[in-house]
């Protein structure tokens, strides 16, 4: 199973906690998926509302590791302050670092990302940067002290899958020993299987499960696809070729 910052997690599936039709459906999706990590967030709360307390109780009952995010932050400064608040709230130094550079695509701001990562690492955070599949950005984030990378498959919430397989393969090949998670854009289990077949260590998704007609069944579908992809990668896939090659031996064929 994947190891992030020296901690082994129970599954290559990291699952978000937003947009489910109900807390019961969320809990069932986590149970069926076997996910080892839940992503969570921090948000304002009015006095007396207590939604935060109820959510904390729900998450605590899942028995998974929490990965707080800095979703919605558009500057390094904002992301750093959010990360500090998240560390205190969730009692973990893990942080999914999001610094958004474009509101339409929710594309990460590479410059703000590196700036925030560098600062957070010096404060002891274990940073999981949500990034594009850019090789140079990956290098800068590793130099900043990140030990995990989280390239996107496609823009958040689109379900478009792995839009740039070439870029993702290249990233995987250049940094073979860095744990990498495909974060965002997956819509179907087959896309998650493809990510694992490429050699990625895990996937992080939310909308594909939460917005499915049957979230728990979809969560289980993703879990099975991840296992299939992981086994396939480890098994050493055959190289593709252009010409056909008979799988049945030609020698011994009846001469008819």
């Amino acid at each position: 199973m994947p190891v992030f910052y020296g901690t082994e997690v129970a599954s290559p599936l990291m699952l978000g906690t937003a947009q489910y039709p109900s807390p019961a459906v969320l809990a069932e999706a986590f149970r069926r998926s076997g996910a080892g990590v839940a992503t969570v967030s921090v948000r304002r709360e009015a006095g007396g509302e207590r939604a935060g307390r109820d959510f904390w109780r729900l998450i605590s009952g899942l028995g998974v590791r929490v990965l707080p995010n800095t979703a919605g932050c558009h500057s390094a400064r904002e992301a750093v302050t959010t990360a500090r608040m998240a560390r205190e709230l969730f009692e973990t130094d893990w942080i999914k670092l999001e610094v958004i550079g474009n509101a339409d695509t929710l594309q990460p701001d590479p410059f703000g990302l590196v700036e925030a990562a560098r600062l957070l690492v010096t404060e002891g955070f274990k940073v999981f940067p949500y990034m594009t599949e850019d090789l140079v950005l990956a290098d800068r984030l590793l130099q900043a002290g990140c030990e995990v990378l989280m390239p996107w498959g496609a823009p958040i919430g689109t379900g478009l899958g792995l839009l740039n397989p070439y870029g993702l393969r290249s990233l995987r090949a250049h940094f073979p020993d860095v744990p990498m998670v495909i974060d965002a854009g997956l819509g179907l289990p087959s896309q998650a299987a493809a990510a694992m077949e490429m050699g990625f260590d895990a996937v992080l998704l939310n909308t594909a499960v939460a917005k499915a007609g049957d979230p728990a069944a979809m969560a289980e579908g993703f879990a099975k696809a991840l296992e299939a992809g992981r086994l396939a990668h480890g098994a050493g896939p055959m190289p593709p070729r252009d010409m056909a090659a008979p799988s049945t031996p030609v020698i011994g064929k009846a001469f008819l």
Partner: protein
């Protein structure tokens, strides 16, 4: 004095961030705080004196992806 709490202007008699949290009913709640965009750890809330015009953020655990 007038301050802003989670984006809304309000009047408060609380002199410290810790007192403000009590005033707003967050005494025992699991919350994290920032004042003027700077994180304020729980241990520092009682020592942080509020000034007119301060922008206070109070956040709690929530769903996220």
């Amino acid at each position: 004095m007038k301050i802003t709490v989670n984006g809304e202007t309000r009047e408060t008699a609380s002199e410290t961030l810790g007192a403000l949290l009590l005033e707003l009913g967050h005494g025992e709640a699991r919350v994290a705080t920032a004042v003027n965009e700077a994180f304020v750890p729980a241990a520092a809330r009682d020592g942080l004196r509020l000034a007119a015009g301060d922008r206070v953020e109070i956040v709690t655990p929530r769903q996220g992806g």
